[in-house]
């Protein structure tokens, strides 16, 4: 765009542009604007359609929202007494995702700091390529590894009767989250201006002090965003947890118990639920709940980031 606010005598002498050049520019501008707001449109449409499929259950007499949220009893196809309680699934999702984040965050922040601040340029390039490769592994392959490799290791090392359990799912999910958190956290650290590092160095800080006292506080928002994206991935992941967690509906006794997650439950059951049946609608309602969970996480992240900004 031309600089209209500059005084006329400083403006470059304007070449007359053809009609097509102007039209082309306008068109491009519209396209870019549309792609910009398309994200909002898509999110709203997705929410609308998922909610529309789920809505009839909310008003149906046989359905109680309280039972849905606070009962463990999930019997969608029972012959005598159909019950839709997803507390076990919510707890399952929380356990597996929580464990995954607990494992993944220290590892990925550590590797981001190492890549960004401590290692030499050649090792850095090699590490970045490998980490990107890790991010490119499809989730079904991770699930396969969880089913056949890590479950055996979990069984052998802990003596658990069944290898596909919370620990196994958490480890697999952590492996999937690490590359995402690492690469975003590394970008956040890179975005800290070099003048900060120079100032720290000038004050006589060593590398560790620079990282702990200067870089981490300066990159706080970016690091938080990285962690929350990791949480989002952990909550929303389906295929890997479907294969690696053992698929048992209940509140787990411990890390070595099998669970089922909200996502895995939808994946496993939507295929058989006749379209429009109550089971089908309840599964969509589970989808709405998942949507709300990720929405709340993102909103919280946003508020925290804003709060941090205001403090400065």
């Amino acid at each position: 765009m031309t600089d209209l606010h500059a005084p006329p005598e400083q403006r470059a002498p304007r070449r007359r542009r053809s009609f097509w050049a102007i039209a082309g520019e306008r068109l491009l501008e519209t396209v870019i604007r549309l792609s910009g707001i398309s994200a909002i449109i898509f999110v709203l449409l997705i929410f609308f359609f998922v909610f529309r499929e789920a809505a009839p259950t909310l008003v149906s007499d046989s359905f109680s929202l309280r039972e849905f949220l606070f009962s463990v009893e999930w019997y969608p196809t029972s012959a005598s007494n159909v019950r839709y309680g997803i507390l076990g699934l919510i707890v399952g999702t929380a356990c597996v995702s929580g464990l995954a984040v607990l494992i993944a965050v220290p590892f990925s922040l550590g590797s981001a700091i190492f890549i960004g601040e401590f290692c030499g340029p050649r090792l850095r390039e090699a590490l970045k390529v490998v980490i990107e490769l890790l991010a490119a592994i499809p989730s079904v392959v991770w699930g396969f590894i969880g089913l056949t490799v890590t479950s055996r290791i979990v069984m052998a090392s802990t003596g658990a009767p069944v290898g596909v359990n919370v620990l196994n799912g958490g480890v697999i999910l952590a492996l999937m989250c690490v590359p995402i958190i690492t690469s975003i956290a590394e970008d956040a650290l890179k975005a800290v201006p070099d003048s900060y590092r120079e100032a720290a160095l000038a004050l006589g800080a060593n590398r560790w002090q620079t990282v702990r006292r200067v870089l981490l506080p300066a990159a706080k928002t970016g690091l938080l965003a990285a962690v929350l994206l990791g949480v989002g991935r952990a909550v929303g992941e389906t295929m890997a947890v479907l294969m690696a967690t053992g698929h048992a509906v209940h509140i787990p006794d411990g890390l070595l118990d099998s669970v089922r997650t909200l996502t895995a439950n939808i994946a496993a059951e939507l295929g058989e639920a006749p379209a429009g049946s109550e089971h089908y609608r309840v599964l969509f309602l589970t989808g709405v709940l998942l949507f709300l969970i990720t929405f709340v996480i993102n909103l919280a992240a946003d508020l925290v980031v804003r709060g941090v900004r205001r403090e400065r």
Binding site: P76, P161, V162, G163, A248, A268, L270, G271
Partner: protein
Amino acid sequence: MWNSRLTTAPFLAAGLAVCLGACGQSATPARTIIQVKGSDTMVNVAQAWAEEYSNVAPNVEVEVSGGGSGVGIAALIRGTIDIANASREMKPAELEQARTNTGQEAREFIVGYDALAVYVHKDNPISEVNLELLARIFAEDGDVTRWSQLGVTLPGVSDDTIVRVSRQSSSGTYEFFREHALGNRDFKLGSRDMNGSKEVVELVGHTLTAIGYSGMGYATPAVKMLPLAPSGGGPAVAPTVEATLSRAYPLARSLQVYTLGEPTGEVRRYVDWMLSAEGQRILQENGYVPVSGAPAGS
């Protein structure tokens, strides 16, 4: 989606096959594609049939996918497949749905018999169970949660909690077991719900404290099948071919395929071929009991 991913692959393959067939050899007659879907119990034998049938009728291609009897029947009701495999019978409500949706009656063919075997780890000393005990282990109000309650001591196990291995709810095996072993009561929460017949046996084979149910064709050396006594007493019967045919084994069931209306053309020929001596031999090789009765050479 687990199920739909699995099922789109054959469609794509079918599309490709049509294209290749049409583009490559325009002289040969058009290929007919028969879509088969349903029971995970029957998916092995259905695959074997499909492979063998390509030698019998090279112009017919049979596409097989699993997902569970419920998934196959739902697809038949929608009219998207030609044949549904089911390890349970269609329910009256489903027959009604098929009628209203497609205007055709679902036609049933019994293609074989299967015994639903109860599997435990090969090192488990238990020698037999009865249906009541199974219900006490698997059903919602059942009180048995530990092997010690059954007087079974497992070697080298500190926690002898019974690990119940079950099937996902779209499975015909799941519904058959619920109906015939649990008397339509619900399963106790916390069972490991596997996505296939083979996975059940695999998990039981790896877990000393596990008990699970699956088709008799899936037995491996790592597990043993328990003889089963009917409820209300009587001797325990092992899941053998003879006991399945005579229905002396309490969890014997028929395996069926369903078509919409009386099948015609290639589908008719395919179903007839399944029931022929050749088709039944393949069924038997896969560990099931043929309909014709007398098992040849076993």
